[in-house]
């Protein structure tokens, strides 16, 4: 089923046409790379190259082998087979230090910044100092300022990284790379934390770097960005190269098909919920004020309402209070002011257990940290929240037979692929773990469901399935709040969209006629757009 598709695409893109469009000799080549881990073939004879002044995108689902390949390029892993060549010469990278000495840089998806150090210290880290054993932060700061001016990256070298917003942290990462004068830079999903407008600025910087003759490897699964930015695109699947092509020679749908291995159905979006003034308001948040981790208010008096049978999407750039919102309404974070109501009665300040009993379920954003216990079995994780209920325990002792029966039903209902119920959950794929969590949270048919980043890092097949289940749940009358940084997801799922920025709701839009641009502006903190909409 999969091979015929990929072959079709391959035949549509003869290798010769690629050659003609980019004649320059490659700066870096990775030839026939194979990397095995116990039980996994992460890279299977992968070949990949980058030319100076080019953006070469690496596209693929989670687990397709992108990060392994890039870790090999950065000296973090050694390939089992294959070799690297830089400017035609064989290259052996034993550690990041080797990569750095060859002016290869990497901006990781999770920023590699030390929060307790200043910007200048982070930039200086790992570099020899002009003053021998002593640090030379003055000189570093000067150079940081120069680079800021040159590329338009405003950053205060004396600021501590923990004080910086996410966008600023990314700038620090870019400055780190520029300071080291990288000739080759790997960018791992760099736009995930940016507003659409910030993405534009970011692309300008990348174009600037291309013009300097640097080679850029761009890793993303946002197909539109890939089409906009790339000179070439290589698609990885199951550790193998599916195709290398250019945006001019392909389409978004073709890329998606290559990535997933089959043609995707066009978005299966059910009808929008039809809300009338009579639709009961099941979940609401009034004047909610919540403190962030650093003591500053993360949420500044926000109001939200979700009706029965409705999905409210919360859109926004990461770190604008989404996490705090989810934690506050689920009882995991103290509330400074305001109320949270389920069916009109306040659940403010209750323990998470009481809140769950009031009919609120929660799919957390960090599934392996907050959603499930990796070392627990599938069955244990299924009853994590309700093992005390009389159906599963009596007199404090757990009834394993009842738990097993309950779980095997859920595993079937939600199509969780697991060898058995005793398998440690960490051995499942991300998609299956997320399905497990969904099964657990929906098993009680909750009045309210809070789903944070429900499909982040999940393969496309599982994501489709999860979206389908969310829509079904909505249709059965649950009030659902989907918090997502993936604007496409919010626009596809939500009936109404609330945009959050710096702890404030910039406005609530009707999903039917909201545009990306409008939402993008609101994500950046412009609320005017919303005002006109509200009427």
């Amino acid at each position: 089923m999969t091979h015929s598709d990929s072959q079709q695409v391959d035949s549509a893109l003869p290798a010769s046409s690629i050659e003609t469009s980019l004649e320059k000799a490659p700066m870096l080549e990775m030839c026939g790379i194979t990397k095995r881990f116990p039980g996994v073939l992460a890279n299977d004879n992968v070949s990949f190259d980058v030319r100076a002044g080019e953006v070469h995108t690496l596209l693929g689902e989670n687990g397709a082998g992108k990060s392994t390949l890039m870790k090999i390029l950065y000296g973090l892993y050694q390939p089992d087979e294959g070799e690297l060549r830089l400017h035609g010469k064989p290259l052996r990278l034993r550690s990041p230090l080797d990569a750095i000495s060859h002016r290869i840089g990497m901006i990781h998806q999770h920023f590699m910044l030390v929060p307790t150090l200043t910007v200048a210290e982070n930039v200086a880290l790992g570099l020899p100092s002009q003053r021998g054993p002593l640090t030379d932060l003055k000189r570093v700061s000067r150079r940081v300022n120069e680079l800021s001016d040159l590329y338009g990256l405003q950053v205060d070298p004396a600021a501590f990284v923990w004080q910086l917003a996410v966008g600023e942290r990314q700038r620090v990462e870019i400055i780190k790379a520029l300071y080291r004068d990288v000739q080759l830079l790997v960018l791992d999903e760099p736009t995930a934390v940016l507003t659409p407008q910030e993405v534009d600025d970011f692309f300008t910087i990348l174009h600037e770097m291309k013009r300097d003759g640097r080679g850029l490897i761009f890793i993303s699964h946002k197909l539109q960005e890939v089409m906009d930015l790339s000179d070439r695109v290589t698609v990885l699947r199951h550790g193998r190269v599916e195709a290398t092509t250019t945006p001019a020679q392909t389409t978004r749908n073709d890329l998606a098909a290559l990535m997933v291995g089959r043609q995707l159905d066009s978005a299966t979006r059910g009808n929008r919920a039809s809300l009338t003034s009579e639709t009961p308001e099941v979940f609401s948040v009034n004047g909610l004020r919540v403190a962030g981790d650093r003591g500053v208010d993360a949420l500044k008096s926000i109001d939200l309402q979700v009706h029965a049978g409705e999905i409210l999407g919360i859109a926004g750039v990461s770190g604008n209070g989404q996490r705090e919102l989810a934690e506050a309404v689920t009882g995991l974070r103290p509330i400074l002011a305001g109320d949270v109501l389920v069916d009109g009665s306040a659940i403010t300040g209750m323990t998470p257990k009481k809140i769950r009993e009031a009919g609120l379920s929660f799919v957390p954003e960090e599934r392996m940290r907050d959603g499930a216990i990796g070392d627990f079995s599938v069955a244990d994780n299924m009853v994590l929240h309700n093992h005390t209920e009389s159906q599963f325990s009596s007199a404090g002792f757990l009834d394993f037979a009842a738990i097993k029966t309950h779980c095997s039903k859920l595993v079937q209902d939600f199509n969780v692929k697991t060898p058995d119920l005793d398998t440690p959950t960490k051995n499942l794929s991300g998609g299956n773990i997320q399905k497990l969590i969904m099964a657990r949270e929906l098993a009680s048919n909750p009045r309210v469901l809070i789903a944070a980043q429900p499909t982040r890092g999940v393969d496309i097949g599982a994501a489709e399935y999860i979206h389908q289940r969310l829509l079904e749940q909505r249709d059965s009358g649950t009030a659902i709040m989907v918090i997502s940084e993936d604007l496409d997801e919010v626009m596809a799922l939500a009936d109404r969209i609330a945009v959050i920025c710096e702890g404030e709701i910039m406005g609530v839009l009707d999903a039917g006629n909201a545009t990306r641009e409008q939402i993008g502006l609101m994500m950046a903190g412009v609320s005017d757009a919303a005002n006109s909409q509200r009427a």
Partner: protein, 310 residues
Amino acid sequence: MTDVFTTTIVVATIASGIRLATPFLLAALGEAIGQRSGVLNLGVDGVMLLGAFAAYFVVLDTENVWLGVVAGITIGICMGVLYAVITVFLHAEQGVSGIGIYLFGLGMSDLLFQKLVGTPLPIDQFSEWSVPYLSDVPVIGVMLFQHSPMVYIAFLLVPVVAFILNRTTFGLNVRAVGESPESADSLGVSVRRVRFCTIIAGNALAGLAGAALAIELGIFQQNLTNAMGFIAIALVYFGAWRAPGVMAGALVFGMVGAIVLQAKTLGLIPRSASDIAAMAPAIITILALVVVANRFRQPAALTKPYFRGD
């Protein structure tokens, strides 16, 4: 008359507090360096004991206190290599392996003492060294500038350690490795090498602390340190992982001990309550930990072994 008497007592108490603080300070500075790079070493007390025995044995043999100091540091370095191999290369759980080091040091120092020495013969002690000019200053002179050389070394190490941590490339690496080893690794800083160095430096200081103690006392005995190493670890938390803070902690601990001791000597504390008074340093440390734990965060990677690529 009473005024002079009181001043003398205050001066003596403070000087006594400084002396009591010295071995704690040395050990705690070493522990702080290790912890800033993300390594907890619960074996300090064991290393101190081995350092103390090594110093005692060498001074007994050579009658040269400085050779004893060298012996203490050397044994500390050896134990540091052992601990570094265990925790950095073999990824052992730090809390428990530290207990292993402690038990090993506790047993081994006693075993060696019984077999190699037996009778607790006295050894040469440090002679006090008065700082020229400064020691003649009234009050302050006696209090601060008439001590054994170890006291000066310990307190001079405070700015040295602070300087290394805050102003040098190595210190920058240490702080980065303790907070975010993956970030440091991604920039080519070898997490292993940094931790190896800090562990060895920390254990060398623990060995030195033991040597300082044994030579200061002029004697060795089974379990000479009496859990000092564990208290030194607590002082690192007390001092929020900063050298001056650690110094403050050691001084508070030493001063409380000295005040209790002085009060007992003068009969200000009834003998029936002397056990209760002996709890004071521990209780004060717990209270301080409560305050510090909420104000300061420990190095984020503390106790966490680093695996590349996770």
